[in-house]
Symmetry: C2
Subunit: 294 residues, 2 copies
């Protein structure tokens, strides 16, 4: 990882996590529910989505505290989706980021409810950003609702389940990932643009960058499931292959998938060049995504 | 049921349901996901929560179409909570409103995701009410987030699960129900006040009315579980007794619970008298709630 991004993470991730945890700690709710919500929020993870919100704001020299709040909201959605995804009726995973999954620790009922609570909370968190004008708040809430729900992430998960019982073709697989992973990454990047009053053309370029990043992210995920170890990944490696799941390497071979990844990376970088600002951080984030080993 | 309310329902419930279904039909999402969401939305139910939104707006002579949108949003939250509540890991119910529950028809994974999608969608629906000023929209979204999430309904469900393993006392039981049932009913009533620009004292009185309605509703639910039949209820009767669940009749005897119900009804009616408007509909709704047989 390059120095610029490392510094940026060192500076901002502790503040992001402080905001994320305190947004949950300060609510008045049953202790075991808050504990279960916080367990998964604190289970680590790369905080990629909040990093994108923050990096876009940084590019606009936007120092608003609310970038952290938006980052926390999107991380809540991401975390709830992992909790529900790991349930026995879904992926049935007992390990996530090297730790027992939420339902293993708290039981299925509480895990389901903790996910539900994080889902609802994320929208309230955006609604309560007093320093952001209400027009922007409703725009952000609308974007998050679309990205998280049936038209975005949840829709992608349904298509993904579909892809477990039959072989998808490349365009179907892209559609799965545009929704399942892409929608929330796109929200992260676009929300930074909204908060920072980006021009229409800047916003358009950032959304295009986001689309390539989303696909690159997912292709690297698929590749890591083959070349990574369970230890590195913090979850069971080789699951896709074992379950005959539709993945990029399965459709394109491992080398073909790597080429596709490189392709999306290059297009992401090219898109950034149309923005007349310092895009170093966003370039480094793109590189971080394709080079990560977990 | 009195004539005024019957007429009001006949006039408004078809419009409410049209809005509710079309909000889901118009989204771009996988067919089976939309089908699963619509299955539970269309499974009937009394639409109590939307009725309260509409009845409050009627009292203020507020004819805004957005009352139906808010009603639809709260019905989405209510419906998602039923879908998740019925899951095998939660209440494990196979029958709801006389029909097979969502997961029985669509499987647990899709049922979980349909609930998740309805949860996220409800907030987007409020965010997109173009004819309502953004200040009001963020206020409504904040209220719904609190009512639906860990501080409201979901928190109440966690306390409710707790109450299955030990005997709650009356104040604990009230707390369960203030959250589990009361919070969403309160949102329904308060959102009508917000949309209609109620004065502070009108809003305060309506919220107090809502609190009594919420408790009355739950006590009648507990009573019906004992005196109702499965056929009337459209779900298995006698489940509470069988599972030794903490309920009002279990704590207060059946007669004691009926007295408590009457009490909350009277206080709800008394609260309405402080509002200098025609409160007939809200009185009739209170009566409807305590006299219903399902």
């Amino acid at each position: 990882m390059t120095n610029h991004l490392t510094e940026f993470m060192k500076l901002n991730l502790p503040k992001l996590e402080e905001e994320l945890y305190s947004l949950v700690e300060r609510i008045s709710a049953p202790a075991q529910l808050k504990e279960s919500m916080l367990y998964s929020l604190k289970a680590g993870g790369k905080r990629i989505r909040p990093l994108f919100v923050l990096a876009v704001c940084e590019m606009f020299h936007n120092k608003q505290q609310e970038a952290f709040t938006i980052g926390a909201a999107v991380e809540m959605i991401h975390t709830y989706s992992l909790i529900h995804d790991d349930l026995p009726s879904m992926d049935d995973d007992e390990l996530r980021r090297g730790k027992p999954t939420n339902h293993v620790v708290y039981g299925e009922a509480l895990a389901t409810l903790a996910g539900d609570a994080l889902n609802s909370l994320s929208f309230g968190v955006l609604a309560r950003m007093q320093a952001v004008n209400p027009e922007k708040r409703v725009e952000l809430i609308n974007l998050l609702s679309v990205a998280a729900g049936a038209e975005g992430m949840v829709g992608g998960q349904v298509l993904d389940i579909d892809g477990e019982s039959r072989q998808l073709n490349l365009s179907e697989l892209e559609k799965v990932h545009r929704n399942k992973t892409g929608a929330l990454l796109r929200f992260s990047i676009e929300s930074g643009a909204v908060l920072s009053d980006a021009t229409d053309s800047e916003r358009k370029a950032l959304v295009e960058y986001a689309d390539h990043i989303g696909l690159a992210f997912q292709i690297q995920d698929d590749i890591l499931d083959i070349v990574g170890t369970s230890e590195e990944l913090g979850k069971t490696a080789g699951k896709d292959l074992e379950s005959h799941k539709s993945t990029y390497p399965a459709l394109l071979s491992l080398d073909g998938a790597k080429e596709k990844l490189e392709n999306h990376y290059n297009q992401a970088i090219r898109t950034l060049q149309s923005i007349e600002r310092d895009t170093t951080l966003l370039e480094e984030l793109a590189e971080y995504i394709i080079k990560r080993s977990s």
